[in-house]
Amino acid sequence: MIESLSPRLALLVPEMTLFVGAVVVAVLGLSKQRSVREALPFITCAALIASIVAVPFTWTDDNAQGAHLLLPMLGRFVKPLLAAMGVWLVLLSVGSVDRRMEELIARGRQPFDAQKVARGEYYAFFLLSLMGAMLLCNAHDLIWLFLAIELVSLPTYIMVAVGGNGSRPQEAAVKYFFLGAMSTAVFLYGFALLYGSTGSLELLVIRDSLATQAAGNGIDSLATIGIVLILLGLCFKITAVPMHFYAPDVYEGAPTHVTAFLSFVPKTAGFTALVLILTCVGWTGHALIAPDGVRVQYLGLPTPISAILWMIAVLTMTLGNLGALLQTSVKRMLAYSSIAHSGYLVLGLIAGAGAGIDALYLYLVAYGVMTIATFAALAAIERRGEEINSFSDLAGLRVRHPAMAWVIALCALSLVGMPPFIGFFGKIYLFIAAFEANQLGLVIAAVLNSAVSGLYYLRLALVPLVSPPSARSQEVTRVPSRWPQTAAIVCGVATIALSAAVGVLLQAVRTSTDSASASASHTSHSNHP
């Protein structure tokens, strides 16, 4: 028992680092020293960087093999990814949390009141949520999976509520929380059914059990319904149809830095959870019983699940893009765009082990960079102390804030899938994966959707660069902190720079999921002769 525990613990060093960081920032947030409070984001960053550094040392092959994980090498890629994106998410929030209060304190209008400050808590929750997402990679049973997902979610509810001021974040929080709770119940019930069908909570056991079922007459209905419920429940996390309805409101209502967080971390967590669950199901070795009783070997997920995912993918990308067309609020538009991108990402889930999961994670990297850069650029500017909201605020942004205008335009182009930005490579590899899975229909749907998405992304690109400045946009100023701008520029440059390194990136993704495909396909042969 001890032998098996120590590798598991070693694998958790990054999470521990984050946990320590969370405790530290929570405590230091109560400090009366302004400089200490201002250092909180950077302490958070330090914790994140430390966790990145810890990964290669702790996530060795030996440790990973010893932990008996479903996807032994997944964490090696996903954890640094989460932490690295976390760094920019932190930086884009510098100076935002408690901003008004801190200004009042600085001007001496108000004394420091430990009861009212939220900055320490915010960063603590930030780290805890990221920690939850990281923990998902280590999940080896459903309990861990459930707890990790909840650990991702619960802090985000609070972050939405306390990260800004006014009633909109609170409205967003209440919607997010209540609907989130409902979705949790849905996938929890799915867990129960899956457990009932397979008799175990261990993912490896579930996988083998399902493989046995598949080898017989197919996965039984209890497990199928359970998996469908889990899928639907997790759709909430990945903002996919039919559980995406909250997203526009919450994204719009939440403060920009929280929106940025919401658009990446829970989504990555949701997809990782889905990858784990679907790896248990497996993308191969399923069979259809033809009417004449002959077994027909069938590639991909079992029919009902793949069909449901297919519908989810198509509907998600379509509804997301159609919704985004009509928006006048930039953040709300980006929320719909986030939904649409989830639809593309589901393609990777359908395509499955190997290329599909690779494409999924590659696209997550691309999407993370692009979306964080966009939100960072939005967070770096404000109008009369309020967040940027409508497109007319951005009109002619180039004149006063050229760098932010360019970043927004660049990211819009990357999001639409314009080469040679990273979004293009993400998309193209997703298409390749879909081809590998014979999902020509999905490719066509995605292609049409990409074309439709051009309608609104082009607007996002042209408004800051081309439109003449409006009366509203004349009042746009830069926020006091330079860090959001830095984050925007770095991520913006990354949308180009990463495409130069896309080969390296893809290689990294592959090594992390190679074992995934190996373990998923141990009962079957490879896709193609």
């Binding site: 919607k175 209540f178 019930y189």
Partner: protein, 114 residues
């Protein structure tokens, strides 16, 4: 006592499992229906708890069926998480109540497509 324990660990009849599962499904559905129909935030939250408990009951029933304790362990975790959610929910509800002085969920519909 030992007899009770041993009877607890004998394999339950399928009908009993079915009844337990049906109850769990009913609980879950009741929670869902309540969630959809009630407007009071606290009651809505309680309804989500009801759904959690439905899932938990199903878990216990299956654990019982499989003679496996891990399902029951899971239920303990579910209860814990539910408690955490309750704390969070109440905090949030208080926050909201302070701003609008109402617990009606319909008071919070500023966002959304105009």
């Amino acid at each position: 006592m030992s007899e009770a324990l041993s009877s607890a660990f004998t394999i339950a009849a399928p009908t009993q499992i079915s009844i337990a599962l049906a109850i769990s499904a009913i609980l879950f559905s009741l929670g869902l229906i309540g969630f959809l129909c009630r407007r009071n935030l606290i009651i809505m939250f309680l309804c989500t708890e009801l759904m959690f408990q439905g899932a938990a009951l199903a878990m216990i029933a299956f654990a019982r069926m499989r003679m496996d304790v891990s399902g029951q362990v899971f239920v303990i975790f579910i209860l814990t998480v539910a408690a955490a959610e309750a704390a969070l929910a109440l905090g949030l509800v208080v926050l909201l109540y302070r701003r609008r002085e109402t617990l009606n969920s319909e008071a919070w519909a500023d966002l959304g497509e105009s």
